[in-house]
C-alpha cells in the first residue's frame, strides 16, 4: 500500500519527489496542478478556457433563461435558454400521442420499468424469483399500455410514444436479444461445422452493416417477405430489427466470456458424463456470463442509445417526440435546449448503467481475488 502513496490515481509518478510529501490543500495544489513548468502552463490554460466558457454558459442556462413563457413569446426576446419549451411540452415529450387523460398509464409504466431496473441492479436480488418479477412486471406494463381490461380503455400501440416507447424498445430488445445471443455464441463456438458457419455468417453480416439498414429492412422489406394479408405493425417490426441487431453484438460479448473458460472445465464436465446441454447450462455458462457481464452491460447501453435510431423509420420514441415538438412554429428555433434535454434523459439512464457495470466489475474482481487463495488452500 505504501508504494501507492506517491502515485496519483492515474498511476503516474507525481514528478518531483520533494513534492510528494506533505498534506493539506497547498501541498495538494502543488502536487496536482503546479508540479512542473509544463503542468503550470496547462493549468493556467485550462483555467483560462474554463473562465471564458463556464460563466457565459451558466448565464445562458440559468441567469438569462426563461422558465415560463406562454405561447413562447418571452423566449423570442430573451438572451438565455428557453426551458419554458420543455415545461410546456414535457407531457408530449414523455408520452407522445398517448391519449391525454390516460397519461397516468405510461407514467406508471415508466415507474414499473425503473423499479425493475432497480431490483435487477441489486445483487442480493439475483434469485430465481427475479425472472418471475420480470415476467410479472412486463405483463403489467403491457396491461397498462394496451389496456382493454380492468376498465382501462384499449390504446393501440401506434399511439405509444416518448420516453415510454424508448424504454419499451430497449427493455424488450434486451430481454429477447440476450437469450438469442447466448444461442448464437454457443453456435459460433460449437464443434458442428454447419452450425458454426451459419452463426458466424449471421453475426458477421449483422455487425458489418449499419443499424439503419437493418431498420430500413424491417420497415420497407419485411412486409414484402411475409405472406399476403399478414401485416405486422411498425412497432413490432422495429422491435424485431433491434433484437436481431443487438443479438449479434451481445453474442460477441458472450463469446468473449466463453473463450475465457479454461479447457479443463469442459474436460471435467465431459469426464463426469454430462451431456452438451447439461455441461453448458450447469458448468460453462454460469462462469462465462459472469466474466462477460461488463461487455454485456456496455452492449446494453449501446442498445439503449441505438433505440433513438427508430426516428428515421417514423416511430415516436423520446428523440422523435422532441424533434416533433420543435416543429411547432411557436417553439421552433429552440433545438439546442430541446436536444440538451433529450441528452440529459438518455445520460441519466446510460450513466446509471455504466456506473452499475463499473461497480459490479470491481466487486466481481474482488470476489475472484478473495476466492483464489482459498481455492489454492483447499486444493
Amino acid at each position: 500500500m505504501s508504494a501507492r502513496a506517491d502515485v496519483n490515481p492515474m498511476g503516474n509518478p507525481t514528478g518531483n519527489p520533494m513534492l510528494r510529501r506533505g498534506r493539506g490543500a497547498l501541498a495538494w495544489l502543488r502536487r496536482n496542478l503546479f508540479s512542473s513548468a509544463t503542468n503550470t502552463l496547462l493549468t493556467l490554460a485550462a483555467l483560462y478556457a474554463l473562465w471564458k466558457v463556464v460563466p457565459p454558459l451558466l448565464d445562458w442556462a440559468f441567469v438569462e433563461a426563461v422558465w415560463d413563457a406562454p405561447g413562447g413569446r418571452a423566449c423570442r426576446e430573451a438572451q438565455g435558454a428557453c426551458w419554458a419549451f420543455i415545461a410546456d411540452k414535457h407531457r408530449f415529450i414523455l408520452f407522445g400521442t398517448y391519449p391525454f387523460e390516460q397519461h397516468w398509464r405510461p407514467g406508471a409504466a415508466i415507474l414499473v420499468f425503473v423499479a425493475l431496473y432497480g431490483v435487477s441492479a441489486l445483487r442480493s436480488c439475483w434469485r430465481p424469483w427475479l425472472a418471475l418479477a420480470w415476467l410479472a412486471g412486463l405483463a403489467m406494463i403491457g396491461l397498462l399500455l394496451w389496456g382493454g381490461a380492468f376498465g382501462l380503455p384499449y390504446v393501440e400501440d401506434e399511439r405509444w410514444g416518448g420516453l415510454v416507447l424508448t424504454l419499451v424498445l430497449a427493455t424488450f430488445g434486451i430481454a429477447f436479444a440476450f437469450p438469442l445471443s447466448i444461442l448464437l455464441a454457443l453456435g459460433r463456438t460449437s464443434a458442428l461445422p454447419a452450425v458454426r458457419v451459419l452463426c458466424v455468417a449471421y453475426i458477421e453480416l449483422i455487425r458489418g452493416v449499419p443499424l439503419i439498414s437493418v431498420l430500413f429492412m424491417a420497415s420497407v422489406m419485411m412486409p414484402l417477405f411475409l405472406p399476403e394479408g399478414l401485416m405486422i405493425d411498425k412497432l413490432l417490426r422495429a422491435q424485431v430489427a433491434l433484437i436481431l441487431f443487438a443479438a449479434a453484438y451481445l453474442a460477441e460479448a458472450v463469446r468473449g466470456g466463453l473463450q475465457a473458460i479454461p479447457r479443463g472445465q469442459y474436460e471435467a464436465a465431459e469426464a463426469l458424463g454430462l451431456s452438451y446441454w447439461k455441461m453448458t447450462t450447469l458448468v460453462i455458462l454460469p462462469q462465462a456470463l459472469k466474466i462477460a457481464i461488463a461487455p454485456l452491460v456496455n452492449t446494453f447501453i449501446g442498445l439503449f442509445k441505438d433505440t433513438s435510431l427508430v426516428v428515421v423509420i417514423g416511430l415516436f420514441d423520446l428523440l422523435s417526440t422532441v424533434k416533433t415538438a420543435l416543429n411547432e412554429p411557436a417553439w421552433s428555433g429552440h433545438g439546442v435546449e430541446a436536444y440538451l434535454f433529450a441528452s440529459f434523459v438518455y445520460f441519466v439512464f446510460c450513466n446509471a448503467m455504466s456506473r452499475f457495470s463499473q461497480r459490479l466489475e470491481r466487486d466481481l474482481a474482488h470476489g475472484q481475488r478473495a476466492q483464489a487463495p482459498q481455492a489454492g488452500r483447499a486444493g
Binding site: N8, M10, G11, T14, N32, L33, S35, N39, L42, T43, A46, L47, L50, A191, L192, P193, A194, V195, L198, L205, R207, G208, V209, P210, I212, S213, F216, M217, V220, M221, P223, L224, F225, L226, P227, E228, L272, G273, S275, K278, I301, K305, D306, L309, V311, V312, L319, K323, G333, G335, V336, A338, Y339, L340, A342, S343, Y346, F347, C350, S354
Partner: protein, 410 residues
Amino acid sequence: MTPALPAAARSGEGARAGPPAAGGARALRDPHLRGLVYQTGLVAAVALIGWYLLSNAAQNLAARAIASGFGFLGREAGFAIGETTLFSYAAADSYLRALGIGLANTFRVAAIGIVAATLLGTLVGLGRLSRNWIIARLASIYVEVIRNVPLLVQLFFWYAMISVNFPGPRDAFKLLPGVFLSNRGIVFPFPQAHPAYNWLPAALVTGAALAWLACRWAARRQARTGAQFPVMSTAIVLLFGVPLFAVLAAGAPLRLEYPVLGGFNFSGGAVLTPEFAALLAGLVMYTAAFIAEIVRAGVISVDRGQVEAAYALGLRRRHAMRLVILPQALRVVVPPLTSQYLNLTKNSSLAVAIGYPDLVSVANTTINQTGQAIEGIAIIMLVYLTVSLSISAFMNAYNRRVALKGGARA
C-alpha cells in the same frame, strides 16, 4: 448430485430421440452421427425458411407489378444532390451515378472523421492520464458525457446549433482570416482550381511509394550496419514534398482563393455545409470519446519497467516513446481501434437523419422513387459489408505486423 447426472442426461436424450429401433439405439448415442443429424436439420430449416420468405417476396412483387433486378440503376435519377465534391452530378444522371456520389460522400466524411477522431481521441486519452488534475478531470467528464448520449441526439444538437443558433453570413464569426462560421456552414480559403491539380493523385501515390521504399532501405541498412537514418523526417518530406513539387512544377498558382461576402452568402473558397459540419462534429466527438478510452488502456498496459529500462539505456524521451512505448501500446490499441473506425464508417449512415447525402440517404431516395426496396437495401448492405471486411482485413494485416514476434524467433 453429480453422479446422478449422466444417467439422467442419457435417458433424457433417449426419450427425446423417440423409440429407437433395435440397432438404432447405439447409432443415436454416436455423437458424430447425432451431430450430422442436428446439422442437416438446422441447414434444412434455414433453407426452408429462406425459400418460404423468398417465394412470398416473389408473389408480393408480382402482385404489386414491381420488376426485380438492377435494371433501374441505368435510369435517370431525376433528383438533385446537395453536395457533389470530387465528381460532377446532375439530376439527369443515372441512379448508379447518384449512388456513386453518395458513396463518395460517405468516404469523404469517414476519412476526415477517422483522422480527426484519432487525433482528438489520443489527446483526450492522454489527457485523462495527465498528472494535471484539471486536465484529467476535464478529459474524463468529456468521455463520460459523450459516451452516454446517443450519437443521433448529438447530431441533431450540432445541426440545430449550426443552422439555427449561428449568425447569418453577414455577421458570421470570423475564426481566422478568411475562415468564417455562419448558419450556412464553414467557409475557408482554398487553392484556386487549376488543371495542374489533376496530377495530384498520381503524385501522392508516388510520394507514398518513395517514402515506403526509403523506410525499407533504412531498416535494411540499420539491420546490416547499425547506422541510423532519420526515417521519420525523410518520409514526411517525401510524402508531402513530392506532390507539392509536382503541382508547382505543373504551374499551379501559389495563391489561395479567399471567400468573399457578396449578397446573402459567401462566394469563393471552399465550404463545409451545415449538414457536413454537424455530421463531422458529431462523429468525431462521439468516436473520440471511445478512442480516448482505448488509448488510455493502451498506455496503461505498457509496464512501467519498460519505460524505466528505456531511460536507463540512455534513450531520449522521444526515442523511448517511439521505439519502446508506442510499439507495445499499439499492440493493445490496434484491434479495438479498428472496430471504432468501422463504427464511425457505419455511423456515418446517420447522415440520412440530418440530410447529408451519403450512400444511405441517396439509396433511401432511390427506394422511395423506384420502389426497388430489396435491391436498394441490398446495395447498402453489400457496400458496407465490403467496406467493413476490407478495413478489417487491412487492419488485421497491420496488427500481424505489430504483434509479438517472439514466438517465431525463439
